[in-house]
Symmetry: C2
Subunit: 536 residues, 2 copies
Amino acid sequence: MAFELKDRDLLGRLGKLKTKSGEIETPAFMPVINPVNQIIPPKIMKSNFGCDILITNSYLIKKNFETVNNLNVHNLLDYDGVITTDSGAYQILVYGNVEVSQDEIIEFQKKIGSDIAVILDIPTGWDVPRSKVEWTVEETLRRARAAIPLIKDDKMLWMGPVQGGKHLDLVAKSSKEVGLMPFDIHALGSPTEVMERYMFSVLVDMIITAKRNLPPDRPLHLFGAGHPMMFSLAVALGCDLFDSASYALYAKDGRYLTNQGTLKLENLNYLPCSCPVCMSYSAQELKNELRSRRERLLAEHNLYVCMAEINTIKQAIFEGSLWDLVEQRSKSHPAMTTAFKKLSDYKYDLERHSPAFKGHGVFFYDYNSLNRPETTRYLPQLLHNYSKPDNVNTLLLLNAPKSKPYNWDLEYKKLEKILVNELDLKIKDIQICFIAAPYGCIPVELCETYPLSQFDIAKPFDSETISFTINNILEYISNYKFPKIIQLLGNEDLENLVEASLMEKSPNVDSKFFSVWSKEPWSEASYNTLLDTLKM
Amino acid sequence: MAFELKDRDLLGRLGKLKTKSGEIETPAFMPVINPVNQIIPPKIMKSNFGCDILITNSYLIKKNFETVNNLNVHNLLDYDGVITTDSGAYQILVYGNVEVSQDEIIEFQKKIGSDIAVILDIPTGWDVPRSKVEWTVEETLRRARAAIPLIKDDKMLWMGPVQGGKHLDLVAKSSKEVGLMPFDIHALGSPTEVMERYMFSVLVDMIITAKRNLPPDRPLHLFGAGHPMMFSLAVALGCDLFDSASYALYAKDGRYLTNQGTLKLENLNYLPCSCPVCMSYSAQELKNELRSRRERLLAEHNLYVCMAEINTIKQAIFEGSLWDLVEQRSKSHPAMTTAFKKLSDYKYDLERHSPAFKGHGVFFYDYNSLNRPETTRYLPQLLHNYSKPDNVNTLLLLNAPKSKPYNWDLEYKKLEKILVNELDLKIKDIQICFIAAPYGCIPVELCETYPLSQFDIAKPFDSETISFTINNILEYISNYKFPKIIQLLGNEDLENLVEASLMEKSPNVDSKFFSVWSKEPWSEASYNTLLDTLKM
């Protein structure tokens, strides 16, 4: 297997991809190199930008350099890293056709020594009738099948593209069928228009559909994705490779990439970046440069930003904070937020692939954070793992103390002592739970476990977070059917909302509900009322 | 006046501060320079990092170099930019006292040629009894008064510090009184502990309280603020200057700053940054460097990040996107989100100082964006500027089309034509409004004005955004008391919620409410029903 998994977070993965020119780490961004004209020399890309892999176009190489003796793509580009070659499919998308057959371009890619190559698929495009989409899917599959005998015996890695555009049933079919064929890498086709139109939520659907239907042990490449603001989202959904010429095309057009969007150089008075270019030039100096020099500098800046974002993503997967990164980037544009909200539809996919323990604290910023794997898995795991002993007939609900772990809180320790010693009650007859957003009920026994010992949530809570929390509490209660529920109430808003819900709902779950009002620090009077209620 | 305002956004400002060593732009970050030992030479800070201003400690200079002939702080540090000197007040905070009087240290700062200097104030500190806080405020004010005769006749700029800590009434008093004295700059004291404890929402209260009570035409310095993740929030609240040694102290401690928080070098497998250091070294290489070299490189990285964040903030003020930047940075930590939510308490302060037109599109990510100035000012301005002509007795509510400006929508144009021509109805008898979150009612006449022609909002809307929108609609309706309200209903959730609210509330506002169901594109049948309802 050419692809080896090193780490994961959400559907994102750190991997190693072995090629005949060496091993690269994924996720990886492949800058598109124009074989005829390089704005930044590939050798410099490797030494100064850390680009260990790039992509160029075998169709354009064939058109321009076919007659060169012993043509080799590494020599042609003066680059000893890993080279992917595209097949001309992009030219089909743009010009409708190319002057080459699939057999020819496959042989040509083998001949010039590509490390990773693509068959000549038919990109779906955008705004095309369904019948045309169906044809692109079928024809791409037919070509994939036809390619197999030609590609099976070499050390190159071959990409099997997935088509179907926004038609998710066709994406699923395309993925399933190409996934049965012996390709090393899969590639999701033609999201360029989706990205140009900022339809990132459609892209979320497309990627997840492909992932659900492709073999999970093969890397997934997202064709034409070149904006750093969406890399982390795409990685979180399971993409391992990206390619784009945007760093150079945007530079030609005076556009300046950031991981939060695109700015126009003409509108910049300051350079909002720490890259070597932006630390050497002021905005005015950059604007005053000669056109070709300015383009080169902008392309360098754009590439620095892309490469830094890939490193940011890798570090986030490594430390288990990919969700946080995606949430930060979701503020790039409302369309990115819309896509981020879409993750709620796929929270079980994200949960299933995320490791249970990363050690990194779990942060809840607002209701969007409720779709984090740590929240998704909490209640099902709790209900699955914990069975209430028969003698436990009382649930005691306490408001969560300010510091964690909750059971180390001095006020709680005092209460526990009173319950155990002073009134001859056996604490094991009582289930004590802390009420905390967003988890709901946190049994005292679990307070020191991850992530319950290590989470932070912003205040005040929003409506969605409150509903979610109360819902979790009600599910917990209705599952265990405690005959008696007692809530020790303080002054927090959340507690009062929980009390109101319990008052209303407890008859339905056959529990008797009592609330004992107190204030923090808990007073002796409230302890006495609590103990009386416990003994009732 | 030494301070000149160039641009503003929220309470943030781009300014020019004239000093005897030249002009600097604000907001500015002043790295703290240890006069005895510089991890990065100040000259290099200026040439490579763009640091035009720095801060050092006159008390430490006095202790170590007092005997030097013709002592001059610019020569001592080999730096020709602007030099601020602190007075030893920080040492009072840490050690309780200093071996120098205020008169001595003021004279010393004058003698060594500081450009900006501070009187010897008494920092409030944290967790001190109120009586002690009161004393620090009073004593600082006494010293400020005592300093005036000593500082009035030179070209230096003098800072008048504000104390009071988290006691907002004392911060207000301190600000008001020192603001009456002839200082050039004010400085909000000792927020270090607040920041170390991540109590950013307390900091929001402190800064706003100071701003409300200080002369608005003087720059405000925030003492000891050195984390780039909170610079934009502090600037948005009106801070113009920052100083901190954190770039160097964190480096000593192996901590790596990012604009989203702090990471430990030992936990880094990848360097999530595009700065010259991070583009030249891998995480492993950095870890393997000799201790002193590693500290220098980390300090350089930390300083690059701070300086890039200041440029990012300046660009955001320039283009009018400071709110967006603060919203992005609010995802650094839940405590930053809590502070960001606190802005809802101060939305009128933020609105009052923001320019009406910046040309930058307005983005709504979620309910937190509702506190943007553009939203805060919309309804009051609408109600203030528009008076309903007497002959207008019908309000027609339409769902907002997908593209802006809404009145260019083809379906809308068709409807308008029908209303004007085909049925002999005069359109000026009817007020047509589009329903759009979060603004509520957008009169057709305003569709092409800023920001109504240029906003984007993420979907689906959250509960708070829906309530806000419906509330705005109800306020609009109850203000103008239309005898008849007709809503042309499609399939959007928001419309249906609006309909339900209007059904319930319209009797209270003396309007007759009708809804006409349609689907998009609007059908002839629904037009006919609409026209019938209009004629009723």
